[in-house]
Symmetry: C2
Subunit: 336 residues, 2 copies
């Protein structure tokens, strides 16, 4: 039996990409569109916008590096600023991954219950107000952001785009789509037309700021989503980034058996050897990652095809896709 099931079920993989999407014999797939995208449709990711976190090697001695892209302006910048401060202070060095819950999150930082024993935080962290969970859209809002959101609203009205999704208020009142999702600067963003606001969404791989009930968190305790998009956390926790490489070093960790998935066995905690902004890591001193620009023709086509798979494996195209299933293409460039 030829193992076509494995082939058929695969996500995009570079080796499967045809030389050009135009080769008549090759089906058009999300991967073929990404492969054919011109260089001008890709945007470099500034190393200063990466958080490079090295976990202790695994038990075979293999390195475990997790690369996180920080959220761009104008979203969540209060917390992102704190994360830069924490990284520059090398604050995470010696902390650990202390909580892993299946289909939920892997969480890291100090993780100390006892306030007297908690690791002191560096100077200069902001206390960020809840109001910064969302961006309030005004005449002053960055044109690039407004433009994307405007496009998304128009697309929704005209029924010509595929990544719109009602997810929030007034669901599911017919004829009222107060919420819409789109992509801004390569990030999935939800928005509300009635009270003009926009906010980053929680998808697989999203990195957020853990917090107590009465605070918004500093950014010292972070988590990555390792399951289905927990959209109920949108506007309730700051999304500050996404894992763009090495998510498997978090998603494969043993699930915690203690309260709320905290490791009750301290030996399971995974030490964080270092966490640095990318521009402080020699291997990342030049841009090493690019994302497919979400305002490019290639991206629009990529989403269209992901929502309407018609290569031979697919019998019925879905005809739609939710914003967290789009998966913005990100690639390494240059030497590995």
């Amino acid at each position: 039996m030829r193992l076509l099931p494995a082939l058929a079920l695969a996500p995009m993989l570079v080796w499967a990409i045809p030389a050009t999407a135009q080769e008549a014999a090759e089906p058009v797939t999300p991967a073929s569109i990404v492969a054919a995208a011109p260089a001008s449709d890709w945007r470099p990711i500034d190393p200063a916008d990466l958080l490079v976190m090295d976990l202790a090697p695994d038990r075979e001695g293999k390195p475990r590096r997790v690369v996180i892209q920080l959220m761009p302006e104008p979203f969540s910048q209060g917390w992102v600023g704190n994360i830069r401060t924490l990284a520059k202070a090398h604050w995470w060095d010696g902390t650990n991954v202390y909580r892993v819950v299946d289909n939920w999150v892997a969480q890291w930082g100090d993780g100390e219950d006892d306030e007297a024993k908690a690791k002191p935080l560096p100077e200069g962290l902001r206390v960020v107000p809840e109001s910064e969970y969302v961006l309030t859209l005004t005449d002053e809002t960055d044109d690039a952001v407004l433009g994307h959101l405007q496009d998304a609203f128009e697309a929704l009205t005209e029924g010509r785009h595929y990544w719109s999704q009602r997810t929030n208020d007034d669901w599911p009142r017919l004829g009222e789509y107060s919420d819409v999702s789109t992509f801004v600067r390569g990030w999935p963003i939800a928005s509300n037309e009635d009270e003009p606001t926009a906010w980053p969404t929680h998808c697989y791989g999203s990195v957020g700021v853990a917090r107590s009930t009465d605070t918004t968190g500093t950014g010292s305790e972070l988590y990555a989503v390792i399951g289905h998009a927990p959209r109920q956390l949108d506007r309730n926790i700051a999304v500050v980034g996404r894992v763009i490489e090495g998510i498997e070093h978090l998603s494969t960790l043993p699930r915690g058996k203690g309260e709320l998935g905290v490791y009750d066995d301290a030996a399971l905690r995974v030490p964080i050897v270092s966490a640095r902004l990318g521009n402080e890591v020699p291997e990342f001193s030049q841009p090493r990652f690019e994302y497919l620009a979400s305002d490019s023709a290639s991206f629009a086509e990529y989403v269209r095809v992901r929502a309407n798979r018609n290569d031979p494996f697919y019998k019925v195209p879905a005809g739609g896709i939710d914003v967290c299933n789009v998966q913005v293409p990100i690639r390494r460039v240059g030497a590995p």
Copy 2:
């Protein structure tokens, strides 16, 4: 620093459930509603509808049992019948988990590329036609199924339910909701009003039948979803069950580095010691699991609260929820 971030981010955990949801001091949460659900709102899961798969112990010698609930009638029954035949023949014994892809699937079975070396299949497997990916709704359709779908359509029209979601055709044409999701017999089901059909959805933990491009698969090669719901597979692959216990034994496995995530190192393959229907496993000879009936008042309230979290941690209730984020409550009963 008290570790409230961990508490705040947690999913339902039994120990956190208040004694009754009515205790004024306790916030109403999905967990409190589940805890307060009367016994009459729970339905036993027949052991004959379980597939109990024991993987080889992990390297600490700990057992790894994965319990799968098979899809009930009238969905995917051709493949489910094959799975019963394969389990009764002990066919999976000695096969293995051979492919794991992050945010996608863990896949098991024979996994043999070479047809000459493939493990022979038992007699009596059906070749199931593609038409059985969906249930075509007719006057003959089981009243219980039709009733649920009818309710879902009405709920959508009246805007009174919360689990409806456009996911498919004609997305996102305003005012046309040809597709709707709901729950039938405790399972997330999508449906299309225009050409009356209904089908099981791919969510986290769903088990499906791997196949080649030109077949529908026998059921010998199975996968479990270990990431964000891949709804594009709906109506393209048979969903035959869901993991109700032990998903972590699949989701934490190392990701495959070979083609399409197949383990290129044979030593990584995880042996399947046995896979049996629950009624052949002594520990499961009596029902050991129950699910919260999706036509119960408790379930409706559970979904409403999951879509509108208003306990102290949540600042902005989402106001909606997608069908794969609902997570039908399932619990163990009796002795562990």
